[in-house]
Symmetry: C2
């Protein structure tokens, strides 16, 4: 049985099924988990927007679930996906982890942008 935390959430690591790249970590509540299972596409609970979020709902870069794994404590998930649009990050990169953290706490971009966020989301 899955153990959601005291806030009803569970982290899920999303991995590209073809390349093995870690794309993102997001949180699921029970409803997001059920929607993911029923639809076959990832759904999360956005803590900042306080609502369910169908990954790719705006960009079209949805994620088809290929495989799911549960950890020893049954309090987190690893989900292998087919990433549509080749980019999971709203900043236009394949992975949300496109910056290396350097010893002086600065960042170094280590990936190529796949799309321009303005083209996909418009200007803010």
């Amino acid at each position: 049985m899955l153990n959601f935390d005291s806030q009803g959430l569970m982290p899920a690591v999303i991995v590209d099924d073809e390349t093995g790249t870690v794309l993102l970590v997001a949180f699921m509540n029970q409803e997001a988990y059920q929607l993911t299972r029923e639809s076959g596409q990832t759904h999360f609970f956005s803590r900042s927007r306080n609502r369910i979020w169908h990954k790719g709902e705006q960009s079209g870069n949805v994620q088809d679930v290929r495989d799911m794994f549960v950890n020893c404590e049954e309090n987190s998930l690893l989900i292998r996906v087919k990433q549509h649009g080749d980019a999971a990050c709203h900043e236009g990169y394949q992975s949300c982890y496109y910056r290396r953290l350097l010893p002086d706490e600065s960042y170094e971009i280590v990936a190529e942008r796949i799309f321009d966020p303005e083209d996909v989301y418009g200007t803010e």
Copy 2:
């Protein structure tokens, strides 16, 4: 600047630097993050034990940090490590995600055990 959540925590995905396998997800608070940076070995904050946890402190299976990445929102980390003892999971598997979640919500073990937890942690 890293954004810890309302509970002062941030999820960290730990990846085996040699194989690319996702080993575990755990949480860091500011202190665990600082200890990780200063020592070069992963430290987490255990929500169940409410204390800092030096990964491998009991088993000896420590993790040397090889590389760190931050996500777009600066609220989670991806850390590539050298895993000592070849197993990150206290159940004796390389990865904590050693069970596939099947459509009927049952689990299927998909990995080989590397050590017997009783040998490492004793009987409970």
